[in-house]
Subunit: 203 residues, 2 copies
DNA sequence: CAAATTTACTGAACACTGTTCAGTAAATTT
DNA sequence: AAATTTACTGAACAGTGTTCAGTAAATTTG
């Protein structure tokens, strides 16, 4: 009897439908302004239904976050293809910053807001791991070739990530308004700052 | 007739009372869990009263943020006293990271949450400017002495700030869980990562 | 096929949020 | 003493995440 199999399938489809609606509203109106009721309206179900598929809003956010990390990994793979590990590191950095500036709502979900970190400890590690590995592998290759000023791969990874995240998140949260730089030149400044950093710590 | 003078004074005192209550609750329960009603309860006034002194919650947050930046500048002045500008830069960096880790709620308010950036554009620049100047001055001194690998002061300032902020904020938002490092060694890793970065970009 | 059971969904209700505003009582001025 | 201004209240509004009794449809059982 294929009923339970079909129901299984329908359950997954419904989760997907909810997730897609959530993502759509996140991109349209922002994560902060998207409520369970909005999402329910979007898919023409009642708010209560969403709780039959996701334990709470955090779990849903976590799933959308997982998709977002998939997208970041995708652009990493597309853009960071140089053979030379230092050049590849530059490509990764540029891609990260561009992704953050072009997808502020996804970036929020991935790296800034508190929400999806409230899911179960063990399940949590999954999200973002692939993206971090992509960076770590690149830095390991740099270290292998003796191209890092500080050859500790963990320290180097954290430095690159922190610098890129610092630049993107300070900008997304309008904290660079204290600096005297016009709105439109900021992306260029961020990129130049990141590149000059990479050049300083590699050889 | 000293009535209007007294009223002026009382108005300031009341604003101070509200601000102090807000700060207290922020530190006790977190910024996110502190509502206007909580603050009103704390000072034994009705919620509406708060709106007689602050236009909205953002304006109140902005004022508390201003206090928080004052505290950061204070610890900068206490701890970053070395004559050698590179050593002073290290002291500033360590102080910044320690402040962030020890005062997560204040750090949130200062650098992460969206809220207080919604105040009027012109008024906004004030907050944080002093702290940024403290860092910029130090890096200008480094540049003066030819101690920076990249002698552009704006780029250097942004790099140091972004790296420190990246480290602190990724940690406060639990994003370092993806790395295999135990909870208790993370502060040390952050500090070591920051110091090794400063050493790489100075000479 | 009819009855019993399971499943999927609803939407009102709860406790909360920031904010507004008519109403009131006290302080001040006339 | 009367009129006016000031400071404050607390209910109300529209929103939030979440729960749960009730219902109708799908499925299983006899």
């Amino acid at each position: 009897m294929g009923v339970s199999e079909r129901k299984e399938r329908e359950k997954i489809e419904m989760k997907e439908l909810i997730k897609a609606a959530a993502l759509k509203l996140f991109l349209e109106d922002g994560v902060a302004k998207t409520s369970i009721r909005n999402i329910a309206d979007e898919i023409e179900y009642s708010p209560g239904t969403i709780y039959l598929y996701y334990k709470d809003k955090d779990e849903l956010l976590y799933e959308v976050q997982s998709n977002a990390f998939g997208k970041l990994l995708e652009v990493f793979r597309e853009n960071a293809t140089h053979n030379d590990p230092v050049e590849r590191l530059l490509e990764i950095s540029r891609t990260y910053i561009t992704f953050g500036l072009n997808n502020p709502e996804l970036y929020d979900l991935m790296f800034i807001i508190r929400a999806p970190t409230n899911v179960d400890e063990e399940i949590h590690k999954a999200n973002g791991g692939n993206c971090l590995d992509f960076l770590t592998d690149c830095l390991a290759a740099c270290a292998e070739d003796g191209r890092l000023v500080v050859p500790n791969v963990q320290v180097a990874t954290l430095q690159v990530w922190a610098t890129a995240h610092g630049l993107v998140s300070l900008n997304l949260r309008c904290r660079l308004k204290v600096m005297d730089a016009s709105e439109e030149e900021i992306p260029n400044i961020l990129m130049a700052t990141m590149e000059s950093y990479i050049r300083s710590v590699t050889k």
